[in-house]
Subunit: 225 residues, 2 copies
DNA sequence: TCCCGAATGCTCGAACCAGAGTATATCTCG
DNA sequence: CGAGATATACTCTGGTTCGAGCATTCGGGA
């Protein structure tokens, strides 16, 4: 048995759903939608079916029956195996216990900020602030509605977490935009100078390289391993 | 020309590096390491070479020359094209302007928390708190060192962002653990009851299903599209 | 009655990604 | 001065992921 890789959390979602009752894949996807879990787990059809196949191959779930209703395509109904139940608990425990490094796209963008000029960046960040505010409002409304329906908080913790992250990002972006605009961000002078010298056209490559050189060319060893 | 998909931020990193000067792939990876950008962009060799190929195919970069030094494998040196420069600026602008939905694994784990019992979850969360504190300390030390070397903040914004997210997560987890432990989390009574009834063995599937039923079986329409 | 569109349920291929593997060269240290 | 460790520079392979596409059924309106 090939050593399973725990990369796609959709597989965990499948295990969790089958914990409740046997289902066919399409029903899994509909149930995840209904419970808004598709906001926390990337769900698409192709992945769902391959994830299910892989779980079968590793003995974590098994086909319980196949049925056809009317003249629709036949559906295969899967159930959890004992190994699958164990794996669900182990995997979930690991995810809770140990933070895994994520690579948000915005973080990547921040890494390459100096490509753009400070004024452009400030303008884009203001647009991001608006978008984040809209997201927060929408999310809060959804949480409010869930609460109004009497759904206990334990079942919507993921939305609370999402909200916490959104607020943190909003604060960060607001602060960053302000410090660029009022010039208090350390290094913004150098940055602006580079881009005004290149005004009108594309920034000369060498300029960035030269600006960075003093900080990177000489030293090479990691600070702490 | 096939419509390029902007999924792997490593491609943006390649464009950003070639903006400074022509390089061969291995040098790109070393430069990213040196500047600690591999903390913000997922970097591995296989992906790097395929990303470079794909950029060539789409005319965003091109081979400038190939050389061999001593008897080492030949290296192909790439340079940015005009189209590539445009794409870098457009892509970066998009990333800054528009938040994209991410799917952190911890959020997925929170979605399926009720699989475990409240006491187990609380214990695991306490371990997560420790791990997060270590991460924060390590990151702060690295930032401090960068500052001490005189590297202006603009070049390490990504670490500030990371730090902001880590703090937000830490606060969230601390609060969650406390509210589970002291019983103030809404629904924790129901949750605990379910798991003590199943004490000793595996939770009976039907129990979860029944507990969830009142909240999900009747309504189906999204709150807001 | 018949057609349109939505819902149901899955299949397929192409792209993408991870990371182990390969092969040489140079450095290190007794 | 030779053995192993480290650095250089990729290549290969097999799995994963995406999302469009397909085939069917059902409901509702003209």
């Amino acid at each position: 048995m090939a050593p399973r890789t725990r990369n796609n959390p959709l597989a965990l979602a499948v295990l969790a759903l089958l914990w409740e009752r046997p289902m066919h894949p399409y029903e899994m996807s509909m149930t995840l939608r209904e419970r808004r879990k598709d906001e926390s787990v990337r769900l698409n059809f192709g992945s769902l079916y391959s994830v299910v196949d892989s779980l079968v191959k590793h003995g974590l779930i098994e086909a319980a029956s196949t049925e056809r209703e009317g003249n629709r395509p036949t559906r295969t109904i899967y159930r959890l195996t004992d190994a699958g139940a164990t794996e669900a608990v182990d995997w979930l425990s690991d995810l809770l216990r140990t933070p895994v490094k994520e690579f948000p796209q915005f973080e990547a963008a921040l890494s390459f900020l100096p490509l753009l000029g400070p004024d452009d960046v400030a303008r884009l960040l203001r647009m991001r602030v608006s978008a984040l505010q809209v997201s927060i409002t929408t999310l809060d409304a959804a949480r409010e509605q869930a609460r109004a329906q009497g759904l206990p908080s334990i079942f919507v913790l993921e939305a609370d977490y999402d909200s916490a992250l959104l607020h943190a990002e909003l604060d960060f972006v607001v602060g960053l935009e302000a410090s660029i605009t009022d010039g208090t961000l350390e290094g913004v002078g150098l940055w602006r100078e580079l881009h005004t010298r290149a005004a009108g056209g594309r920034l000369e490559p060498e300029e960035i390289a030269e600006a960075l050189a003093p900080y990177f060319t000489t030293e090479g060893a990691p600070p702490t391993a």
